[in-house]
Symmetry: C2
Subunit: 540 residues, 2 copies
C-alpha cells in the first residue's frame, strides 16, 4: 500500500474517532452522568481502520473517474470493436490465477482495484461484440447503459412507492406501452428476475386462479394438474412443475410439425386423453420464438382449444416477444391478446442489459396477483399511508424486495424512440435473412430448416472431407462430432462465438445456431462468419 | 430534434445502406444470379432511421461522459450529502407529470435524455443519504458502485462458464469465503434474486431432500408437510408455502419470548402435536436478525430439536448474516454451521448494491442442487465441452439465466478488505448502541425493547401532550396515530426517512424503527434524528 493511501485511511479513522469523542461528550452533557461517558469510551473509542468511501474525497473521485474511463475504453469501445477478440479464453484453473481474486484483510489500493477491473474486463466474454452470436442476447447501446449505471447509485427496491417513487412511475408507464402492444385490455405488468421466473409465476397464477384454496391448503389430495407444452419449448415449464410441487411427469409434451410448431390437434388429443384418465388439464404453454429453432406457436388456434377446455394460455415470448415492436414482424405474435399471460424478455431481442424480463397478465378481475400473493406485511404495507397505496406493488409478487430493472429499458426506449426499437428488430431480421440465403448457396453448410421465423439461424457445418458423401448414420455421427471440435477452435482463436447443440426430439445431430440481435452486426460480419467457419473447420 | 442530431441519424442510416448494397453485390458475385440481388434489394434497401448506438461515435462518447458526471454529482455526491434532502416527495399523480416519462416515435435528443436522467435522480429517494434509515439497506461505497457499473457493459448471465468465465471464478471464490465464515464443511453457494427467493429455494431443496419423488410426481397424495417459523419471522416462508403448493395453513407460527426469540420448547411442542395429528414435520426456519426487532433465534438449541425430529434447519440471515463478518458480533450467529442452509443478503448489512443475496447450502452429498433442479438442456449444457463442465452452474438453479451479482460484492470486499467489511458492521453497532442509549434518556421517546441485538432500533415517539399521562388503551391509540402523521411530515420536509409499523403479534401500536447500516451515518446524524422528531412531532 502506498504511504498516501495509508495516510488517507488513517485520516478517515481519526475523523471517525473525533466524531465519536465529540458525540460522547454531548451525550455526557445531556445526561450529566460521567459514568455513561466512561462506559462508552471503551467500546467506541478504538481504532477502526477503513478505506475511504466518501464520494467527496478527491482520491475517491479520481478513482471513480479512472474506473469509468477503463469501463468506457476497455469494455464498451474495445469490446464492441472487430479489431479486438470476442473472448480471451482461458481454462478455469488458469483463470483462477490470472484474475488475482484474492481478498486480504487490508483494503486493496485504488491502483490494485483498477488493475483488477481491467482483468475482469479482459477475461470476460464481450457479448456486445459483433462476433458474439452465441446466445439469445447481445449488443449494447449507450442509452440503456446509462440507465443501468444510475440504478445502483439510487440503490433501492421496488416494493413500495415510498422508497422507489420514480421507478414505480416509469414501470407503470412502460407496462402500459407493452400491454397495448400485446393487446391486453385488463392488463397488469411486473418485472421478474428472468424469463424462467416469469414462466413459473404464470403457472402459479394459473393454479391459484382455478383453485384459490391451494393458497391455504396446498395441493395435497387434489387430482394431478396437467400442463402442456411443445417438444420445442424451453425447459422452464419443467422447472416450474418441479418447483411448485406439480411434478415433471405432469408436464405433457406435445409434438411439433416439421417447422417446430405445436400441433394443435395433438394438444387436443392429449387433453382428452388426460380427462379420460382422471387428470385435471390446467395450463398450456405456447412458445413464441423457440430457443433453438425460433418457431412461433399458433396462439389463435391454441387459444380455441384452451377456451373449449377452460385452460390457462401462457405465451413464453421471452425470445420472440420483441417482434411486437415491429409492424413488419408482429404478425408472428398474432393472437397474443387471447393469452392469459405473456413472458417477454427485453434483454433478448431488444438488447436491454440483463435482466429485463416483463411478465404481462390479462386479468379482468384486477386483483389476481394481489389475492394470489399478498401477505400484508405490517412493516411495509401500512394501511394508513400518506399516498395512494395502490402504487405499492410489492405485495403482488412472490418476492419481497425486487430489483430495479426499469431505468435501463425506459432510457433505451426513450433514447431510440418507438421507431428505433422497431428498427432494431427489423435490422436483425434483414441480416438473418441475408445470412440464411448466403448459407444456402455456400458449400459446406446445410440448413436445419429451409426458413426460420426468428433471427436464430441453425445449420450444420460440413468439413471438406465429408462433402458430397452419402448421408448415412456414420456420416451424421461425423458431422455431430465436428461441432464441439470447431467450437473449441473458435473459442481458442477468440474470433467468433456461436453456440452449437443437438436436438434429440427431432433426431438432429449437433448443429450451429447463429443468433442475430446486436445492431452492430453488419452484413460483412455475416460474411465473416462463413469465412471463419471455413478457415477454422475445413480440415476437421 | 436539433439538425445535428438529425444529420447524425441519417449518417448512420446511410452507412447501414451502403453496407447492405455492398454485401448484396458480393452475394451476387458469389452466386452469379442477378435475380437474387434484385430479390433482396427491395426488403433490405429501405431507409431505417436509428439513433447512433456506436461507442465510437464522438457524440455518443460526449453523452456518456456527461451522463457519468450527472450520476456522480447529482446522485453520488449530492445524494450522500446532508446539505441536500433525502427525498423530494411528490404524490404519484404529480410525479407522473413531473418526470416527463413520455416516449415518442422519434428518438429523444441527448439533451432530453440527460435532462430525464437528472429528473429521475431528483425524484428518487437517496438511500445513500445519512438520513435514510428507513429500510434494512442503505449507504453506498465507491468500490461496489464500480463493480455495478462494469457489469452491464459485459452484459451476460451466469448459467455457463463459456459466457461468464470471470464471473464464475469470482463467485466460487466469494462462496468459499462465505462458507468458511458460516462453517459449512460441504458447502455450496448460489446468488439468488433476493432474500425471499433464497428462502423459497431452501424450502424446495428441503422437500426434495426428504422426498425426491416429488420432483417427478408432485406432492399429490402426500400427508401435509409442516413448516415452523417464529411469529417474528419474515413473511417469505408463507410466500414459499403458497408458491410451492404446500399451503400457508401448513406454516406453523411459534411464539417468541419477550425479546423476540423463538421459544424452542414451543417449537418442540408444536412438532409433537403435528406428529400426533398425522402431519409430516419437515422444515424449521430460524430467523437470524428479524426484520422488525432484529432478534436472533438460538440456532444451536433449534438444531437439537431438528436433529431429534429429522427436520431441515434453515437460517434466514438475510438481515443478520452480516454479523458473521465481525469478530465482535458473530456470536449472534453461533450454531450457523449446524444449519442445512442459510440466506444472507449482502445488500442489507454490508450495503452492496441491490441485489446481493447469497444462498448457502450444507450438502454432504455434493449434488443436491443438481439433482433437485437439473433439466440438462441440450442447448446449454452439452456433455462434450472443451472445458471442465463442473464450472457450468446454471443447471443447479431453478432459473435459466441468472443475473451477474458478483462483481459489485467482490470489488467492495477487495476494496475494503476483510477488516473494512468488519468495520462496517462494528461501526453500525457502535452507532446503534449510542442511539439506543441516547433515546433512553431523552424525553418523548419510549423504547420497544430495552436492548436490541441488531442495528434496527425501535421506539415510540410521544408528542408533548401525551407525555406523563396514564398509558391506557386510549393513550396507546393516540400514540399509534402519531406515527403516520409524523411520517408524512418527515417525508414532506424531506429531511429524514424512517419507517414505522405496528407489531400485532406483540400487541404493539405503531412505532418507529431506525435502521443503521450506512457507514456515512455519523453520531451527529443520530443526534439529528432525535432533534428532528421533536421539531416535526412535538405538537402532534
Amino acid at each position: 500500500m502506498s504511504l498516501d493511501r495509508q495516510q488517507r485511511l488513517w485520516t478517515t479513522t481519526c475523523h471517525q474517532q473525533f466524531s465519536t469523542i465529540f458525540s460522547l461528550l454531548r451525550l455526557k452533557n445531556l445526561t450529566g452522568q460521567k459514568k455513561l461517558f466512561q462506559l462508552y469510551q471503551v467500546p467506541l473509542y478504538r481504532p477502526i481502520k477503513m478505506a475511504s468511501t466518501s464520494f467527496h474525497d478527491p482520491e475517491v473521485v479520481k478513482f471513480l473517474d479512472k474506473a469509468f474511463e477503463i469501463i468506457k475504453e476497455e469494455s464498451l469501445q474495445k469490446g464492441t470493436d472487430n479489431k479486438y477478440p470476442v473472448v480471451d479464453f482461458q481454462q478455469p484453473k488458469d483463470l483462477e490465477s490470472l484474475l488475482d481474486t484474492e481478498i486480504s484483510s487490508e483494503p486493496a489500493t485504488h491502483d490494485q482495484l483498477l488493475d483488477a477491473l481491467k482483468k475482469i474486463i479482459q477475461y470476460s466474454v464481450k457479448t456486445g461484440h459483433p462476433h458474439f452470436m452465441n446466445q439469445l442476447y447481445g449488443g449494447l447501446d449507450p442509452y440503456s447503459q446509462v440507465g443501468a449505471w444510475v440504478t445502483p447509485t439510487l440503490n433501492t427496491n421496488l416494493h413500495t412507492y415510498e422508497v422507489a417513487p420514480a421507478f414505480v412511475i416509469l414501470e407503470r408507464y412502460i407496462y402500459k406501452k407493452m400491454l397495448a402492444l400485446v393487446g391486453f385490455e385488463h392488463g397488469e405488468g411486473l418485472f421478474c428476475p428472468g424469463g424462467t421466473a416469469s414462466n413459473i409465476f404464470a403457472l402459479h397464477l394459473a393454479r391459484f386462479n382455478k383453485f384459490p384454496d391451494v393458497r391455504k391448503n396446498g395441493i395435497y389430495g387434489m387430482k394431478p394438474l396437467r400442463m402442456y407444452t411443445s417438444d420445442m419449448a424451453h425447459y422452464s415449464l419443467k422447472k416450474g412443475a418441479l418447483y411448485l410441487g406439480l411434478g415433471t411427469d405432469n408436464v405433457v409434451t406435445i409434438n411439433t410439425d416439421d417447422r417446430g410448431h405445436m400441433i394443435t390437434s395433438e394438444l387436443e388429443r392429449c387433453i382428452k386423453e388426460d380427462l379420460e384418465k382422471g387428470f385435471v388439464p390446467m395450463y398450456v404453454n405456447a412458445t413464441s420464438g423457440s430457443t433453438v429453432l425460433g418457431s412461433f406457436d399458433d396462439l389463435t388456434a391454441i387459444s380455441e382449444v384452451c377456451k373449449t377446455y377452460n385452460l390457462w394460455l401462457h405465451s413464453d415470448a421471452c425470445w420472440g416477444g420483441g417482434t411486437l415492436l415491429s409492424r413488419k414482424h408482429r404478425h408472428l405474435m398474432k393472437g397474443s391478446h387471447l393469452c392469459n399471460s405473456i413472458a417477454w424478455n427485453f434483454h433478448k431481442f431488444s438488447g436491454t442489459p440483463i435482466q429485463s424480463s416483463a411478465f404481462l397478465l390479462n386479468d379482468p378481475s384486477g386483483n389476481l396477483m394481489e389475492e394470489a400473493n399478498s401477505t400484508k406485511a405490517e412493516y411495509l404495507f401500512q394501511p394508513d399511508k400518506y399516498y395512494d397505496a395502490s402504487y405499492d406493488i410489492g405485495d403482488k409478487t412472490v418476492q419481497c424486495g425486487r430489483s430495479v430493472d426499469i431505468v435501463k429499458l425506459w432510457m433505451q426506449w426513450r433514447g431510440l424512440g418507438d421507431s428505433g426499437m422497431e428498427a432494431k428488430i427489423d435490422l436483425a431480421y434483414d441480416k438473418a435473412h441475408y445470412l440464411t440465403e448466403k448459407l444456402k448457396i455456400t458449400e459446406g453448410f446445410k440448413m436445419v430448416l429451409p426458413e426460420f421465423e426468428c433471427t436464430n439461424i441453425s445449420f450444420w457445418y460440413i468439413p471438406k472431407r465429408l462433402r458430397g458423401k452419402v448421408e448415412d448414420d456414420g456420416w451424421w455421427q461425423e458431422v455431430n462430432d465436428v461441432a464441439p471440435k470447431l467450437k473449441e477452435r473458435m473459442m481458442k482463436a477468440g474470433t467468433l462465438m456461436i453456440q452449437y447443440q443437438a436436438l434429440s426430439t427431432k433426431g438432429y445431430a449437433n448443429f450451429f445456431r447463429v443468433v442475430i440481435v446486436n445492431q452492430h452486426v453488419n452484413y460483412s460480419d455475416m460474411d465473416f462468419v462463413i469465412e471463419e467457419f471455413e478457415r477454422l473447420g475445413h480440415d476437421l
